[in-house]
Amino acid sequence: MTDAAAPAAPRRIRMTVIGPILALVLLVIAGALMNPNFLGWDNVTNVLARSAFIGIIAVGMTFVITAGGLDLSVGSMAAFIAGLMILVMNSLVPSMGVGVPVILVGMAVALLAGLAAGMLNGILITRLGIEAFIVTLGSMGIYRSLVTWLADGGTLSLDFGLRSLYQPVYYGGIFGITWPIIVFAVVVVIGEIVMRSTAFGRYCAAIGSNEQVAKYSSVRVDRVRLMTYAALGLLVGIATIMYVPRLGSASSATGMLWELEAIAAVIIGGTVLKGGFGRVWGTVIGVLILTLIGNLLNLTDFVSPYLNGAIQGAIIVLAVVLQREGKAR
């Protein structure tokens, strides 16, 4: 149905573009006013590094959602991969000794496990035609319980020697920029290019806006869908590789609620939850907004940090409301 304001559509679209940027700028200004350390190098890199895990995952999530899908399992998938990685590395120490090769094997395991887990989600969704929500709700429970079982209800800790060898992957970097930030940036740049100017990105948007049309246009709908889940799995693997050296352990609480933060970041960034339109750089802004809110609450004492979740929640709802207003018909 066309309504009176239809001709204003282009301007409204621009509003959804500007909205998240504006929110981010306001947050930064507010932060700088409240706490002089806020714009300091340490705090900025801290915020970026914290954003990296969710951010890397959220880039993959952008593709899944753009293609009309959803993945609730990424948080527990990360926990499971972390657990698996630690177990494999620990078990290799006796035979291979403490050294870089063990860590490389661990990384390979994380990548493969992520890819496999993503493919499994994707195959169940595309081949068996089960709703993405149901499939990934199921796999979310499965991975969460698997990591609890692997850790026997407690915590899996990385071998002490390996830990100090692996730590630079989280804490180290070049030119004062730590590896998680660098990897995040690389993932974002690649993601943005893929979304914007490759056939794959175009197909994702086409499938998300109307699967029938995509099918009638000879698009290999199932394969593209499957690839979005596989890519997301792989990115969860990468995020886990960056995350494990931070604490050197994994437990049933690892990656808790990451899926919600990732989805929230995607939506705040202006990607349409129903699919059909996605914006990787928007997702980055979404992640930064979410992290900044937490960071601000910690740096200032106007509002209790315990209210972090409430504020984040309010922002998500607000973002969706704005999106609905600005939806192009």
């Binding site: 009176a4 806006s209 109307n210 246009s217």
Partner: protein, 495 residues
């Protein structure tokens, strides 16, 4: 004297003005036809009259008084109803729920289901529509959906009924029923405004006629002063020659051989051959399984049977496999299967042949050039940067055609090629289809318009209840097709 009128109405979308000073007046007890080429501004005019869009300037007059409808509900309260070119139904609700949507009958706080049921039945009976009130709308055929739309409008006491291309998806018999209803409304004093690209209907039923071209009214007056030929000339602004181009076909090598093709639930044991350079018409009533059969052939639905493409046995389970073999199906349903309404022209145009623009990254420059070419070749009118959903129906159809042709198929199945297309464009389409055949492509045209099949095809297959009931030559008569389509005669002439 006039119930509803526009006076000097203009309408712009962004910087582009699409209506320029339109005047039109509807009188009670008269049927007023509004005709014009695709994109001439018919739908926009109607939407302004019924309060769906405000005019940018000028006035809407109700009973001679300027009004501005705050929204469409306000117009409806004044007894003005509109049936849109696109369906406006809640797909997941039942027929009955749709008809009463927003104005449910109540007894106390509860829904009065019996009364609504009775009323729905009565309305559908009037329209000789035999669907159950309990059917979910998404399962209905297009023509039944249209009947539900009409029932919805009839439910309310209407002083003015505005219908945007109501017959585009209807069969001849259904059109006759609709026209009977329109006459009944006219008797009852309702002012009716409708558009149609089928000029025979206009000639048959209109009392008043307004012709638009490029957003202006170019002729208005008593319909009896115009015949179909004069209408067509006034619409396109030039002298129209023959609608159908000459059939100069020299069938080449066999392109497609189909045997025992069955699509479960829709068709059985369909077989035919098709040569390069040939246009094969497929006629039949709506619901005879033509669309489903060819969707099955092209991998869009599960199907069984033997298919040979250029002599090679082919297994086609997915549309992309068909396309790889040079076989494309052009859907009849441009809104939900053909085009991404929320995207631009370029994205839509290149979607089916995106690999041609893929150099690792997409070559948007080449895409833009392809769009220029398509706009020129297919005479697509509308703003280049518009969303496809904002193009007029006929221009969407042209874009869909351009999109399929970009994939350069050798065998093309075109389902209802001219639905909702103006007569000038129709002629262009026919020329185009013949030219594609002359280039050596093999073409199947599925159409419910018998004139179209007869005028265009070298051979005609007629389907009924999912089976081919006969094959006719280029000299087929409408009568012969109807007999086969209705099952009066069952013969199969040797090809």
């Amino acid at each position: 004297m006039t119930v509803l009128a526009l006076r000097d109405v203009s309408r712009s979308f962004g910087p582009i003005e699409v209506l320029h000073g339109v005047d039109i007046a509807l009188r009670p007890g008269r049927v007023h036809a509004l005709i014009g080429e695709n994109g001439a501004g018919k739908s926009t005019t109607m939407k302004i009259m019924t309060g769906y869009q405000p005019p940018s300037s000028g006035q809407v007059l109700l009973d001679g008084q300027p009004v501005s409808f705050a929204n469409m509900g306000a117009a409806e309260d004044q007894g003005i109803s509109m049936i849109h070119q696109e369906f406006n139904l809640a797909e997941q609700l039942t027929v009955e729920q749709n008809i009463f949507l927003g104005r449910e009958l109540k007894r106390g706080p509860f829904l009065d289901k019996t009364a609504m049921r009775a009323r729905t039945r009565e309305l559908l009976d009037r329209l000789e529509c035999r669907v159950s009130p309990d059917r979910v709308v998404s399962t209905l055929s297009n023509s039944d959906k249209q009947m539900v739309e009409i029932a919805k409008a009839l439910l309310r006491e209407t002083r003015v009924l505005v219908m945007d291309e109501p017959t585009a998806v209807l069969t001849r018999a259904e059109t006759a029923i609709l026209l009977r209803q329109v006459r009944a409304l006219r008797e009852a004093g309702t002012a009716v405004l409708f558009t149609s690209h089928k000029l025979d209907e206009v000639e048959e039923i209109a009392d008043d006629l307004t012709i638009m071209r490029d957003g202006r009214v170019v002729w208005t007056g008593e319909a009896s002063l115009m015949n179909q030929h004069a209408m067509a000339n006034a619409m396109v602004g030039r002298e129209m020659s023959d609608l159908f181009p000459a059939k100069v076909s020299a069938p080449g090598e066999v392109a497609l051989e189909v045997a025992n093709l069955s699509v479960p639930g829709f068709s059985r044991d369909v077989g035919f051959t098709l040569c390069r350079g040939e246009v094969l018409g497929v006629a039949g009533l709506i619901g005879s399984g033509r669309t489903e059969t060819f969707e099955g052939l092209c991998g869009l639905r599960p199907a069984t049977g033997e298919v040979r493409v250029f002599g090679q046995p082919a297994r086609i389970d997915h549309p992309w496999q068909a396309q790889a073999l040079g076989l494309c199906y052009l859907t009849e349903d441009r809104k939900t299967r053909g085009l991404l309404l929320g995207k631009g022209l370029r994205e839509n145009l290149t979607l089916q042949a995106l690999s041609r623009f893929d150099r690792g990254l997409l070559d948007t420059g080449a895409e833009e050039r392809a769009l220029d070419q398509a706009i020129a070749d297919f005479d697509i009118r509308g703003h280049r940067d518009a969303l496809v959903g904002n193009l007029s129906g006929g221009n969407q159809q042209k874009l869909l055609f351009a999109k399929t042709m970009l994939a350069d198929p050798q065998i093309i199945v075109i389902d209802e090629p001219t639905r909702g297309i103006d007569i000038g464009t129709k002629q262009q389409m026919y020329v185009l289809i013949r030219r594609l055949a002359a280039e050596g492509r093999a073409i199947v045209v599925i159409s419910s318009e018998m004139q179209e099949v007869i005028g265009l095809a070298d051979r005609i297959l007629v389907m009924r209840h999912g089976r081919i009931t006969g094959e006719l030559g280029a000299d087929a008569t409408e009568d012969a097709i109807v007999k086969l389509a209705m099952g009066v005669a069952t013969e199969r002439e040797p090809a």
